[in-house]
Structure formats: structure tokens, C-alpha cells
């Protein structure tokens, strides 16, 4: 009841979804790398690829379990903390969630059994098929949840109906719902973000081995796959990001204004701040480095076109500005960094000197923090920028709260989740670290391929 429960429920959702989102993008990104590794093994019989696939499967499994555990929390939380929202959007949002269960979760969790436990129970081909099904399942899962979230951002394919005094959104056109104005571009951007994470994660581990002079065949093969995925995805990110931003400009202008710290519409073209410090009270960006007309150009292709600022909208419809602004800007900066790093690494890889560039290897070991941060920051920008709406233009977040839940109950749950998630995170890192230190196994003696040269690593 009241503001307490609302603030606590918001915080809890942020905490639980932030924790959950450490895992699915890694699952999706590593899934692609894993399909590549095992695919190469099935095609070439190269046992080093087999060992690489088995190693990545173990990493994948530990991550997947955490994703599942934290994922159920999300499904339940809509009903638990946001029952009014659930009543309002059940037809639409609930359908997407149910579809996710039927088409995605069963697929990935089912075939995970064969992928993790079935190496010695099924043929090479059937095992590879299972790996592909798991990777596909994780992507299908992304589709449905992004469709659901996108409907919150740009609702379509529905009409409002009052039943028993309760206003509800009911489906009028299922395909319009699924292909709502933002779902496909957001899906592309989310997948790209996941691929970047998977690639950097793999490179981080491989770079570590390279620095220690271990597992040369594994390192080479991992870099071959990850560099391709990482570079292509890093280059794709600003493209999908740009088109995404144009959709936001069209359908969620206050969100774009918050991203850009665009308080005052002004005359003519709108500037873009490369960086600055938005001041919500004074409604300006302090110490802002502005490029005149750039925002107008990016949104409309015309340096003088008008881009509405926050001043064009009622105050009660404004999102917070600072958090989306910083999240968005830091994410973009990181995105540029990813392009730089992957280009650099690819350049040296082509020249055959990548593994002797110890400074770059060290950077790549730690660089995985970048995609992790970027993925989270992007979502923070998207969801905080969506405020005050839980369904754009139709229901405010404050209106979606569960009336029956007391603030003391939410306080209890938020404390419980915080403690448990902190502990689980530490344990996940511990288990991963153990696996990484152990490393991939060497292929068995009698069918081992010819010994490969050690990595050329400068002293």
C-alpha cells in the first residue's frame, strides 16, 4: 500500500531482472560459439574442436542453471508485485509468456539434457542437433520476451475493453502484436548485444590461456570463432542501435529526449551531446559537449528538423533523465570500444601476431566486463526511459502495482533475494573459475591430431 511498496517493488524488479540478465545473453552468445565449435568437429573430426565444445558446454551449463533459477522469479513477479498490470495486459503479455514456455523453454531445457549429459549416449550428429536445438531455444526465448516487452513500449494489435468495471487490453490482431513497431529491431539489437557478450567472454578465457602459454589449439580455434562473431556483432550494434533510436524517436519521444538530455525543443535543429551532466532541476546539460544539429540529422536526416524536447510534454509524463542519459551514453561509448578492440584483434590475428601482443591479451581478459555493462545499461536506458509508463500511454507503473501486497512483505522479499543473489553470484564465479583454471581436456592419445605449434608468445 502506498509509495513504500511501489518503490520497493520497482527496486526489486530492477534487482531481479538485472541479476537474471547476467545469464541469458551469455547463453545466447555462447550458444552460437558452441554450435560453431561442435559443427566444426562433426564436419572435420578434429578432436581439438570436440574438446573445445565439451569445455564450452560445461561453462554453458553452469550459466544456464542460473538463468533458469532467476528466470522463474521474473514470471512469478508480474503476478506477485504487479497484479493490476497483470489484469490489464494478461491477454497480450501473458500470451507471449505462455508462447515462450511452449516454443522456447521446453526446447532448450529438453535438449540441454542430451547436450550436457548425452555425449556418450547418442551419435555425433544427434548430439550436434541437440546443441543446435538448445541454441535455437535460447533465441526463441529472446523473441517472445522481447515481443512482450516491446508491446509495453509500442503497444499494437489490441483494443481497450471494460469488463466488470476493469479496463483491459484485448488482442485484435495477433500478428500486429508480435510485429509491433519496435519488436523486431529491438530483437535484433538484443541478439547483437548477446553475441558481443558471448564473443568477448570466450575471448577473455582464451586470452587468459594464451598469456599462460596453455591450450594452444583451443585458443586458436576459440579466437577464430569469437573474432568473427565479435567483430560482426560489434559492427552491427550501432546499425541496429541507430534504427532502434529512430523508432524510439517516432513512438517514444520523451524517452529519446531523456537519452539525449534534450530538455528544450528550441528553434531549428537539435544538438546531440557527446557527453555532459544532465541537471533535471535546472533542465539543462552541464558541461555538455554538443554537436549542433546532429540529433536532428540522426533522427530525420536533416540538420534543421525539429526534434521535440521534454518541454513539449506534460511534466507528469517525463521519465527520469539522468539515469537513461548516462546509461545510453556509456553504452554507446562501450559499443565503439568493442569495434575498436575487435578490429585491432582481427588485424593482428590476420598478421599472425595476435598472441604475442600481451598487452592486447590482457585487455581482452578484462574486456568482457564491457559487454556485460553495455547489455545492462541498454536495458536500464530502455526501461527507465519508458517511465512513467508500464504500458506506454496506457498505464502508469504506479497504477500497475499489487494493491494486496504490503510494503513489509516486499521489504522481506527484496532482502531475501539480495542476499541469495549475492551468494549465488559469488558461487557462480567460483565454479566458473574452477572450470576455467582446469581448462579443456586434451584429446585422447590414440586419435590425437598432429601436435600443433605452441602459441608464439613474446617473453
Amino acid at each position: 500500500m502506498g509509495l513504500d511498496a511501489l518503490l520497493l517493488s520497482r527496486l526489486q524488479f530492477a534487482l531481479t531482472i538485472g541479476f537474471h540478465y547476467l545469464f541469458p545473453p551469455l547463453t545466447i552468445g555462447l550458444g552460437v560459439i558452441l554450435v560453431f565449435m561442435e559443427g566444426m568437429y562433426v564436419r572435420t573430426g578434429d578432436r581439438h574442436y570436440e574438446q573445445a565444445a565439451r569445455f564450452w558446454t560445461k561453462i554453458f551449463a553452469a550459466t544456464f542453471a542460473m538463468g533458469v533459477a532467476s528466470g522463474i522469479v521474473m514470471e512469478f513477479q508480474f503476478g506477485m508485485n504487479w497484479s493490476a498490470y497483470s489484469r490489464f495486459v494478461g491477454d497480450v503479455f501473458g500470451s507471449a509468456l505462455a508462447a515462450e514456455g511452449i516454443f522456447a523453454f521446453f526446447l532448450e531445457s529438453g535438449f540441454l539434457a542430451v547436450m550436457v549429459f548425452g555425449w556418450d549416449r547418442v551419435s555425433k550428429r544427434l548430439h550436434f542437433f541437440s546443441t543446435v536445438m538448445v541454441a535455437l531455444g535460447s533465441i526463441f526465448s529472446a523473441i517472445w520476451i522481447v515481443v512482450a516487452n516491446s508491446w509495453q513500449q509500442t503497444p499494437a494489435g489490441f483494443h481497450l475493453v471494460e469488463r466488470d468495471g476493469v479496463l483491459r487490453a484485448e488482442i485484435t490482431d495477433f500478428w500486429a502484436l508480435v510485429f509491433n513497431p519496435s519488436s523486431m529491431i529491438r530483437l535484433a539489437h538484443v541478439i547483437v548485444g548477446a553475441l558481443i557478450l558471448g564473443a568477448f567472454f570466450a575471448m577473455s578465457i582464451a586470452a587468459w590461456y594464451a598469456l599462460k602459454g596453455r591450450h594452444a589449439p583451443f585458443v586458436r580455434r576459440t579466437f577464430a570463432a569469437s573474432l568473427v562473431v565479435g567483430l560482426l556483432a560489434s559492427l552491427a550494434a550501432p546499425i541496429t542501435g541507430h534504427y532502434h533510436a529512430t523508432v524510439v524517436a517516432q513512438h517514444q519521444p520523451t524517452k529519446l529526449a531523456a537519452f539525449e538530455g534534450h530538455f528544450h525543443t528550441g528553434e531549428g535543429g537539435a544538438p546531440m551531446y557527446l557527453f555532459g551532466f544532465p541537471d533535471e532541476e535546472e533542465q539543462r546539460v552541464r558541461a555538455g559537449i554538443a554537436v549542433p544539429g546532429l540529433l536532428s540529422f540522426l533522427v530525420h536526416g536533416d540538420f534543421d528538423a525539429t526534434v521535440p524536447g521534454l518541454d513539449r510534454f506534460p511534466r507528469e509524463d517525463w521519465p527520469p533523465v539522468a539515469l537513461p542519459f548516462y546509461s545510453f551514453h556509456i553504452m554507446v561509448a562501450l559499443g565503439l570500444l568493442f569495434i575498436l578492440l575487435t578490429l585491432l584483434a582481427a588485424w593482428y590475428y590476420r598478421r599472425g601476431t595476435l598472441f604475442s601482443r600481451r598487452w592486447l591479451m590482457w585487455i581482452l581478459v578484462f574486456a568482457v566486463a564491457g559487454p556485460y555493462a553495455a547489455n545492462q545499461l541498454g536495458w536500464i536506458a530502455a526501461e527507465v526511459g519508458r517511465q512513467p509508463w508500464i504500458v506506454w500511454g496506457l498505464q502508469r507503473t504506479s497504477e500497475g502495482l499489487s494493491p494486496a501486497v504490503r510494503s513489509s512483505e516486499v521489504l522481506a522479499s527484496i532482502l531475501l533475494f539480495s542476499v541469495i543473489y549475492l551468494a549465488l553470484f559469488a558461487i557462480w564465479i567460483f565454479v566458473l573459475n574452477n572450470k576455467i583454471q582446469h581448462g579443456p581436456d586434451e584429446p585422447e592419445g590414440d586419435v590425437a591430431p598432429a601436435r600443433e605449434p605452441e602459441l608464439q608468445i613474446a617473453g
Binding site: 553452469a62 544456464f64 542453471a65 542460473m66 533458469v68 533459477a69 532467476s70 522463474i72 522469479v73 512469478f76 508480474f78 503476478g79 506477485m80 508485485n81 497484479s83 497483470s86 489484469r87 495486459v89 494478461g90 491477454d91 501473458g94 500470451s95 509468456l97 505462455a98 508462447a99 515462450e100 514456455g101 511452449i102 516454443f103 523453454f105 521446453f106 526446447l107 531445457s109 529438453g110 535438449f111 540441454l112 539434457a113 542430451v114 550436457v116 549429459f117 548425452g118 556418450d120 549416449r121 475493453v161 466488470d164 483491459r168 484485448e170 488482442i171 485484435t172 495477433f174 499489487s402 494493491p403 494486496a404 512483505e409 531475501l416 541469495i420 549465488l424 565454479v431 574452477n434 572450470k435
Partner: protein, 338 residues
């Protein structure tokens, strides 16, 4: 068939699927501490290792389907059972990570910790599911705005606690029979004794719960007048219950497993019978009941969802069956096991 009745039945099928499949996973967890050595405990965990995750999806899909088909009931129930659901989530999280992490480190203290959380998570989740079912059967205070007006402690009354105990006993029995199928040698012989003991507990709680229901919850059997078929389910249930000891005695554990699955299905069916056409019964008065008609999604949504279910579920059943087939037979610990 009326779309609303179709979805009530489908939710029942999803619930039965979950109870039978994740039932044996949770049952193994409840019995886990009965395993003495590290190897035995690994055998227990690996008997469900490849399967538990897929089985848990039935719960997620049940929740999603409830949200999609009867959002008003999903909203009322999940906010009403707030703290119990927090505990259920906590329990399921620990069940999942215990399985995944237990054998990843050699330390005895580490393994013992996860053995306890595997047991605790499995037992707590099972018990709370039963408490929820008991409350739904008994009715919870829901007012004209369809919101819960009760308290957490108000959910812990005798009948729900009894149903909680019954659920733990049933699931433990189901898990014991499953373990008996998957193990061999001396361990299997010990589990043979567990099956009998679990059956005993089940029988006691089943009788108590049945008597209580017949005496204190007349509404639970109200539907039997309109649907005599329900009596057939009662009869089949009794036969299935009787067949469990018979099958165990005759050394046919697979039939015992099928029978305990049938018992779970029958109990879930009777739960549905007790409820129909309500989803949430209000203890403040029947005019406040949430029914399959007054909290449903639109007809169009129900139809779309039915199509999704018809498209998706045959695939799910097919590949799930294939995957179970791949992992048939006794548990063998290998390099890929937990």
C-alpha cells in the same frame, strides 16, 4: 468444447504434467539425505540430472498459461500468495543450483551444504505447493475488487497444512518408486524399504485429507452430482493406490511408478473437480468467486492461445519422450555426470 472449459482442462493437464514429472525430481530431493555415501548421493542427483530442468518448465508453462487465459486469477492468486511464493522461488532456486554446483568441488563441507539445500529446497517447494492447493480448495478472503484481504499467517490453517503434508508424502512416495527403478544392488534394496514407508505415510495423510474434505468442505464434492464421471476417477484412484503395494510386492516397479503417477493425476483431477468452475473461491462469499468466466481473457485470445498450444505441444511431447528414451535405464556415473 466451451473455450473456457478447454482452458480449465488444459491448465489441469499442465498441472498434472508438472506434478508427475517434477514430482519425481522433487521426490528424489526429499529422499536425498537418505543416501549415505558420496557415490550414492551422486547417483540420486544423476537419476534426475538430465531431466529436472525440462520437467520444471511445466510449472513455468502452467504459470504462463494461467496468466494468458485467466489473468484475473493469476493476478489475485500470485499477489495473495506473495510470501509463500517468495519461499517457493527461494526453494526452487536452491534445488536448481544445488544440483548444478554440488559436485563441482571436492570439499566435503561444500558437498554436504548442497546436499542439505537440495533436500530443503525440494521439501519446502513441495510442501508449499500443497499449502497453496489446500488454500485454494478451502477458499481465501477475496473482496469485490478481486483482491486478497487476508494475511500470510491466515494461509497456514489446518487443512492447507494437511494438504501440504499429503503432497510431501505423495511426492516422496513417487520419488522413492522412481529411484527404485533407476538404481541397482544394495542401494535399490534399501530404497525398496523406503517405498513401503513412504506409501504408509501417503496412505495416512490421504485418508485424513479425504475425511476432512468430505466432512468440512461440502463444496468440494458438489460437482459430483452433475458429473458422475468423477466417481470413476475416485474409483480409479483407489485402484491405483491399491496397485502400488501390489506392484511393489510382485516385483514390478514400473507398474508401481505408473500407479503413483495415476494417483497424482487423479488427485489433481479431483482438485479440479472440487474447484470447477471457480479458480479462486472467496471465503467472504460466493458472489466474489473468480470463475473461468469472469476473469478470463477474451475469446479471441483464448482461441489464439489454443492454436499455439495445438501447434507447440505435440512437438514438446514428441521430443520429451525421445529424450526420456535416451536416458532410460539404470543410473551410470560417468565423466559427464553431476
Amino acid at each position: 468444447m466451451d473455450l473456457h472449459i478447454f482452458w480449465f482442462a488444459t491448465l489441469g493437464v499442465l498441472l498434472i504434467g508438472y506434478a508427475i514429472l517434477d514430482g519425481f525430481d522433487l521426490g528424489v530431493g526429499i529422499l536425498h539425505l537418505g543416501a549415505r555415501s558420496d557415490e550414492e548421493r551422486r547417483i540420486f542427483m544423476n537419476s534426475i540430472g538430465p531431466l529436472w530442468d525440462g520437467n520444471e518448465v511445466w510449472l513455468v508453462t502452467f504459470g504462463g498459461a494461467l496468466f494468458a487465459a485467466f489473468p484475473g486469477a493469476y493476478a489475485t492468486a500470485f499477489s495473495a500468495f506473495y510470501l509463500p511464493l517468495v519461499l517457493v522461488l527461494f526453494a526452487l532456486i536452491f534445488r536448481a543450483v544445488s544440483l548444478e554446483f554440488r559436485s563441482k568441488h571436492e570439499s566435503r563441507a561444500w558437498r554436504r551444504f548442497w546436499d542439505c539445500t537440495f533436500f530443503g529446497g525440494s521439501a519446502l517447494a513441495t510442501f508449499l505447493f500443497g499449502v497453496a492447493v489446500g488454500n485454494v480448495m478451502q477458499g481465501i478472503p477475496v473482496g469485490p475488487d478481486r483482491e486478497f484481504t487476508g494475511t500470510f499467517l491466515g494461509l497456514l490453517t489446518p487443512f492447507p497444512l494437511l494438504v501440504g503434508a499429503l503432497t510431501v508424502a505423495t511426492i516422496a512416495m513417487h520419488g522413492a518408486i522412481y529411484l527404485h527403478l533407476k538404481t541397482e544392488g544394495e542401494l535399490q534394496q534399501r530404497i525398496h524399504g523406503w517405498m513401503w514407508r513412504a506409501f504408509g505415510f501417503f496412505l495416512v495423510f490421504y485418508l485424513l485429507a479425504t475425511i476432512y474434505t468430505l466432512v468440512q468442505l461440502p463444496a468440494a464434492t458438489a460437482n459430483f452430482h452433475d458429473m458422475p464421471l468423477a466417481w470413476a476417477v475416485v474409483l480409479l484412484n483407489v485402484l491405483a493406490i491399491a496397485n502400488i503395494p501390489r506392484a511393489i510386492h510382485h516385483g514390478r516397479p514400473f507398474y508401481a511408478f505408473l500407479s503413483s503417477a495415476a494417483v497424482i493425476a487423479a488427485l489433481a483431477f479431483l482438485f479440479g473437480m472440487a474447484l470447477f468452475p471457480n479458480l479462486i473461491v472467496s471465503s467472504l462469499g460466493p458472489e466474489y468467486n473468480l470463475t473461468i468466466y469472469n476473469v478470463a481473457s477474451s475469446e479471441k485470445t483464448l482461441r489464439i492461445m489454443r492454436l499455439i498450444a495445438f501447434l507447440g505441444m505435440p512437438f514438446v511431447l514428441a521430443y520429451t519422450t525421445a529424450i526420456y528414451w535416451i536416458f532410460r535405464g539404470k543410473v551410470r556415473l560417468g565423466q559427464f555426470s553431476y
